[in-house]
Amino acid sequence: MPGNPPQPGSGPSDADLARMSREDLVTLGGEMDGVKVIYAEQPVEPGSAAERRAERQVAAAFTGAGLSALAFMVIFVAWPWQVETGGDPSGLAVLYTPLLGLTMGSALTLVGVGAVLWAKKLMPYEVAVQERHEGASPEIERQTTAATLVSGATSTGIARRTVVKRSLGFGGLMLGLMAVFPLGGLIKKPGNALYETPWEPGMRLLTLKGLPIRPQDMRPGSLQTVFPAVAGGARSADGVSMLIRLLPQQAADFRPREGQEDFHWNDFVAYSKICTHAGCPVSLYEQETARILCPCHQSQFVATDGARSIFGPATRSLPQLPVEVDDDGYFVAKSDYLEPIGPAFWERSS
């Protein structure tokens, strides 16, 4: 440490230090820290043929890494990369991504290979031990350090100057609150959103393109994904529903859920497209078995049985949208769903 007086007898004098070689200094430094090298070995004889061979290997790996990286950049700039949709799948452009991966991968790999070869073949191998010292500092150092800290705190006068202390506390508290306050903007009260969808009495059922649907548009055994007729309805995550026209025999066998006997219109039924298990879109419709399948976890619902769940992890039926045909002959909803659509949530009662 600069400014410390030299302590006679505790180590080599300045004259001794000046005479010492770098290796001696390294040994001395190790001794001062209690480190002792007990075994050291050179992997190759300096100047030997083995050393030159190892050097060539390391150099080859690093050079290869550099060339690969260079090749990556050249390919990135110069290689044809545009693949025509529906075009010739055997063109050079098909190789663009694989070549980028290959060159970048080999560049990174070769850097690693070079570093490992260098460490294993050229660097000396040594084993060193270091004594562990006592855990705590000497008593005298601990006492003096504690006194210095306390004296520093006292000299600020914080304990005496009540006004300063309180104003500092106030300022610090408010600054801390200011830092976390904007997070409050992320908290949103959900309100009734989980219980409601955009469907309203008399609202038309629209296709993705926004066209209303007449009964004669759909043949028996067909399915139409429908959206509520509101602005942005075709992107409505909770209003999306399936309008299904059952086959004649299925319509004859239709069993509505209790209290929902008038939700279907002749052989048409409409159900929520959101699975009651995890909220995936269920639209794998088997027209012969009238089963609606969920692709995520293989839940199955029976369209002729109020979309009752018969297989898989979903336990609740798909909510049914009550539908009818308005005076102009287009399908409309009679009301919103009677129950929340989609998966369970914390406050949900059923």
């Binding site: 949709t85 098909v94 043949r219």
Partner: protein
């Protein structure tokens, strides 16, 4: 040449329909019945099913069925084009009104982006977003679309074969059907930019390959380095 038959429909059959009748009585009658009325537990009635349905079932080799199973599979067709036409003519003579064949010659004449959107909304849930097909209930499946011709897809949408829902022309207009076909065939013909398709089934097989091949390879390399120390 008049095939021996007691059918009342014999009178007034065209030459083509008469040839179709002979094919029907050799290959289809067991399951679909003498007057196309169907045989309970074996095969449905074919009265009024339309040319689209006959074309799809016969030209893709699904019919005649080899055996009763969960669903008919695509196989090498038994009948050639002329024979398919004869069967269509015969079945049509029992009742028309079902969906017919498209009149356009180019069934890919549609907007690619719109076709993609319609495909993802109407088809991808069963056939997979890359048309690779997928499982349904009780051993049934939605077949892959990689082998399907333009006309196969068009007639399938029109007729709703087996468990596939029907997409009539008021639901998906002919232009929209052509757009969907254009999209699927473009997907089929597009090169895989990554070099390897890995089934084109999305992140699951890709992740599997990374885990099984990539990570096992890394572990093997680590073990090898360890043995050399």
């Amino acid at each position: 040449m008049a095939a021996p038959s007691s059918s009342a429909q014999d009178a007034g059959l065209s030459v083509e329909a008469t040839a179709g009748q002979e094919l029907f009585e050799n290959g289809c009658i067991t399951c679909h019945g003498r007057n196309l009325q169907g045989v309970e537990d074996n095969g449905p009635s074919l009265i009024g099913v339309g040319e689209a349905s006959v074309y799809f079932q016969v030209a893709t080799g699904r019919m005649p069925l080899k055996q009763q199973e969960a669903q008919a599979q695509r196989k090498t067709p038994v009948y050639d084009d002329a024979e398919v036409n004869q069967l269509m003519a015969y079945i049509e003579s029992y009742g028309s009104g079902g969906p017919g064949l498209p009149t356009e010659s180019d069934l890919r004449d549609g907007d690619l982006a719109e076709g993609g959107e319609l495909f993802r909304l109407n088809c991808a849930s069963c056939h997979n977003f890359a048309g690779q097909g997928g499982a349904l209930s009780s051993g049934k499946n939605a077949p892959t679309l990689t082998q399907a011709t333009d006309l196969d897809m068009y007639t399938a949408m029109l007729s709703g074969p087996q468990n596939m829902p029907v997409f009539g022309d008021n639901q998906l207009s002919p232009e929209e059907k052509r757009a969907i076909i254009n999209y699927v065939q473009t997907l089929n013909e597009t090169a895989d930019p990554g070099g390897l398709s890995i089934g084109r089934a999305g992140p699951v097989p890709e992740g599997l390959v990374i885990w099984v091949v990539g990570i096992v390879g890394c572990v093997a390399a680590c073990l090898w380095v360890g043995t050399r120390s």
